[in-house]
């Protein structure tokens, strides 16, 4: 894997801890350009990228991710940020169809969960920070279509929005795959959404719905 963050201290710390957790850290970069070069040279499985990097401290991380996807489509992309912004999540879901993640930087302190998320992204899954999703699901609306969902279905929807596949849902909720499929079908019908099975489209549809 490869790490890109302009904060050296954090970068070094992550490198050490991820190495301890069994990752092979191939290199570190301080900005987007160095990161893209590094990925081209070392062909990692996954890149962990700070969303806000030099030179402009905007969304350079997403720009670098786009270039990486163009030259090395198989590389999983995990973006970390100090702030969670819905429009960033939407952009990631729109521009990438697999192997992408968007987490709050704080998540690195829960090592086990973080490592699991990185592995999922490396494996091609979509991962969205639960706080972002919960913020949207918890949002009050004037006429809330989420009212039509049962408690269980809302739980499933939130996990779905975080990028979990049906198999992932089944494992997370400790129910059979068939039950999960039933819930998902019911949710998509009630919310009038297109039940695409590819994870990123599913997440994108749910995000758009939640934001509307």
């Amino acid at each position: 894997m490869i790490l890109a963050d302009d904060a050296v201290l954090l970068r070094e710390g992550l490198t050490r801890i991820l190495a301890d957790s069994g990752f092979d850290v191939l290199g570190q970069a301080g900005d987007g350009t160095a990161l893209v070069d590094l990925v081209r040279d070392s062909a990692p499985d996954v890149a962990i990228i700070d969303l806000r990097m030099p030179p402009d401290f905007g969304s350079e991380g997403i720009d670098a991710a786009t270039r990486i996807r163009a030259i090395a489509p198989q590389v999983g992309l995990m973006l970390l940020s100090q702030h969670l912004e819905v429009h960033h999540a939407l952009r990631l879901m729109t521009e990438f169809d697999r192997g992408v993640g968007y987490l709050l930087k704080d998540r690195v302190s829960d090592l086990a969960a973080f490592v699991a998320d990185v592995r999922r992204v490396a494996g091609g899954d979509v991962v969205l920070d639960s706080e972002l999703v919960h913020r949207l699901v918890a949002r009050r609306r004037q006429q809330d279509p989420l009212d039509r969902l049962s408690e269980r279905e809302r739980e499933v929807l939130a996990l779905m929005a975080q990028g979990l596949t049906n198999a992932g849902l089944s494992a997370e909720l400790h129910v059979s795959l068939k039950t999960v499929e039933g819930h998902v079908h019911s949710i998509f019908t009630k919310l009038d959404l297109d039940a695409d099975q590819r994870s990123h489209r599913r997440v994108l549809a749910v995000l758009r719905f939640l934001r509307s």
């Binding site: 801890i17 806000r52 690195v108 090592l111 004037q142």
Partner: protein, 678 residues
């Protein structure tokens, strides 16, 4: 202009006569008209015609003067002469009537003996015209002598039939006193010499006055002198050539009429506005009369309509025509009375009307007013100090933009008047006049008044400019403060992001690793304590994150107003409908201001308004960003000192934008502004 001065000026230029004075003037006028009118019905006598003409002309001019200037010497003399002439005319008409009327002798007597007196009084009137004052003490003595002599002759004339009229006309002296022939032989030559002498005296007085007069007075007297010359020559010539004073007598009315013309045309006694109104009212009375008669008689003859319908039609026609005709009559009267020149009163009042406009048209108005008041073909207003001025306004053309010192203003034929205010030269007026004549004293006075006014106007303008300049500077400074504040906030957020927040994340990472290690070591107690520390750290970073967002949301700088507002409304506890119509990024301080406005309004809606939903609309239209936040809450919101809305208002006013807060109790709250983005 100070109020006392304004009042004095107004009194000098125009004062409406009181009702009592109007009534007195009207009664005297009616008396004269009555006597002359009734007299005229009693027959026609060429020898008496002059008395009627003198009565109407002297009384008319005299009453006109007295109406506006009661106590004026000329007015009193003229009215006296008019009334006396009317009595004399009526008496003679009555006495000459065939068949003879009762008491005709006495009335004829009344018409003849005052002749020398009226001649002497008319002489005094001519001698003191137009000022009402004698030329000198010596002239006064001569005038008294003339009146005294006239009284003696009149007394003789009242006692004996000495006047030629008794012999010439078919009149009878009412009584006999004896010594008739003796009196005749003494008084008749005296009378002839006196009459000739009186006329020479007037002529001499008028000529002397003419020679001593200033330019203004000469012009006023020119008419009058001709009017005095004609009857004088005719009287003398007539007496010599045809042995009759009649041609001279019949032209005597020219004198009061010429006096009247001089008074009106040259605005002697400053009473022209009165005649103006009189002319208009006269025209209107004529219109109503003629219109009514035309409709009732003219249309009535052509169409078989009832009188009621005709009267209604006539009234309607007159009513419809009234205002346009009045306006036209006013314009005609203005032109007749004033010519192209405005009165000093008009000029000054026009100027003070101009003063109410507080923009650059002020000086344009000043130039035009001066041109109108002084018949200048070209007026330029210069503003500046003695050593350098620039033309800021001109009439009729636009000013050239070249500047020059006061000494070089105008060419040889222009009038240059420096304008002072507060003892300092503040500008200059340069006038080019149609004629090369120097200014008459009255015009000189008007120009001096206008120059003083110009000082006020120029000072007023300078103050306005200074205030505008200071306001602009203040606004720019306020805007710089807002911009500086914004960039300070942005820097602070960046520093937090790159410094404290990164360090805390790193610390969290270390704590997380420590938990794993403690777990591997099997120390349950340690796992719990470190895990607790990690949770607290996460809470702290979450708090810090919110603070950083409040200081300056990163999304605003990086992704623009729409993204930042979307993030804000995602977090809002009250449902928000967000509508943003933007096709480009806007200046940072505009975006930040719009963001903070929505933020403050949303916070208020959520905290105080008990709102069910909020509408946020942001629209960019032709360079103006309109931001409106409307909730459906309880309303009654107020901007309090030191409160968020007050801070917002300050921030907006620094950008020259208003804060519009509409919050009637029970009907929701709207916070709105319009920001200029160019």
């Amino acid at each position: 202009m100070c109020p006392a001065l304004a009042a004095a000026r107004e009194a000098r230029y125009d004062d409406a006569p009181s009702l009592a004075r109007e009534a007195a003037v009207g009664c005297l006028g009616l008396l004269v008209l009555g006597l002359v009118g009734y007299g005229a019905t009693l027959g026609f006598h060429v020898g008496n015609l002059h008395n009627g003409l003198l009565a109407v002309s002297f009384a008319g001019v005299g009453l006109y003067v007295l109406r506006a200037r009661p106590g004026h010497r000329i007015g009193q003399l003229f009215v006296g002469l008019g009334v006396a002439s009317a009595v004399m005319y009526f008496g003679r008409q009555y006495g000459l009537h065939t068949p003879s009327l009762p008491g005709s002798e006495w009335l004829a007597w009344l018409s003849i003996w005052p002749v020398p007196l009226s001649m002497a009084v008319a002489g005094v009137g001519v001698m003191v015209f137009p000022t009402g004052q004698h030329l000198s003490q010596r002239w006064r003595v001569v005038a008294y002598a003339m009146v005294g002599l006239a009284m003696l002759i009149a007394l003789a004339s009242a006692l004996w039939p000495i006047e030629d009229d008794w012999a010439r006309a078919d009149l009878t002296f009412p009584f006999r006193t004896g010594g008739e022939n003796t009196a005749q032989s003494i008084v008749a030559p005296l009378m002839a010499v006196s009459y000739a002498g009186f006329q020479v005296l007037w002529a001499a007085a008028v000529v002397t006055r003419l020679r001593r007069a200033g330019r203004d007075e000469v012009r006023q007297l020119r008419w009058f002198v001709s009017a005095v010359a004609v009857p004088t020559l005719l009287l003398v010539g007539g007496a010599i050539a045809w042995q009759t004073p009649l041609p001279g007598l019949l032209t005597l009315w020219l004198i009061p009429v010429a006096a009247g013309v001089a008074i009106v045309r040259y605005r002697l006694y400053d009473i022209d506005p009165v005649i103006n109104k009189t002319l208009v009212i006269g025209a209107m009375v004529l219109l109503i009369f003629v219109g009514y008669v035309a409709v009732v008689v003219g249309v009535g003859a052509l169409l078989p309509l009832s009188d009621g319908v005709l009267a209604l039609a006539a009234t309607t026609a007159v009513a419809v025509a009234f205002e346009p005709v009045r306006r036209r009559a006013q314009r005609l009267a203005d032109r007749l009375v004033y010519g192209a020149r405005a009165t000093p009163y008009e000029t000054l009042s026009r100027l003070s009307a101009q003063l109410n406009h507080s923009d650059d048209s002020l000086l344009d108005g000043l130039a035009a007013t001066i041109a109108g008041g002084l018949r200048a073909s070209d007026v330029v207003v210069w503003v500046g100090e003695t050593d350098w001025m620039r033309a800021v306004s001109a009439w009729p053309s636009a000013p050239s933009d070249a500047g020059r010192p006061l000494a070089e203003l105008g060419d040889g034929r222009d009038l240059v008047r420096p304008v002072r205010y507060d003892g300092r030269v503040r500008g200059a007026l340069v006038l080019r006049r149609a004629s090369r004549d120097p200014l008459a004293p009255a015009e000189e006075q008007l120009l001096a008044d206008l120059v003083a006014q110009a000082g006020l106007v120029i000072d007023h303008r300078a103050r306005l400019e200074q205030v505008a300049r200071q306001a602009t500077e203040l606004q720019a400074a306020a805007r710089r403060i807002v911009t500086a504040q914004d960039s300070a906030r942005r820097r602070l957020e960046r520093d937090l992001h790159d410094g404290a927040q990164q360090r805390l994340v790193t610390l969290g990472l270390e704590l997380g690793a420590l938990v794993e290690r403690a777990r591997a070591a099997g120390s349950v107690d340690l796992v719990q304590r470190v895990e607790e520390s990690r949770r607290q750290l996460l809470d702290a970073t979450a708090e810090l994150r919110e603070i950083a967002r409040g200081v300056h949301p990163a999304a605003l700088t990086q992704d623009g107003l729409e993204a930042a507002l979307a993030n804000m409304t995602d977090r809002s506890p009250v449902p928000v409908r967000l509508q943003v119509t933007l096709d480009r990024r806007l200046p940072a301080e505009i975006e930040a201001t719009a963001y903070f406005l929505v933020s403050e309004a949303l916070t208020n809606s959520a905290r105080h308004a008990q709102a069910e939903s909020v509408d946020v609309t942001v629209t960019l239209d032709s360079g103006r960003l309109m931001v409106a936040v409307t909730d459906d809450g309880i309303g009654g919101a107020q901007s309090e000192p030191g409160g968020g809305l007050q801070g917002l208002a300050d921030r907006l006013s620094a950008l020259g934008a208003p804060l519009d807060l509409v919050s009637p109790p029970g009907s929701g709250t709207t916070v709105r502004t319009v920001l200029a983005c160019e």
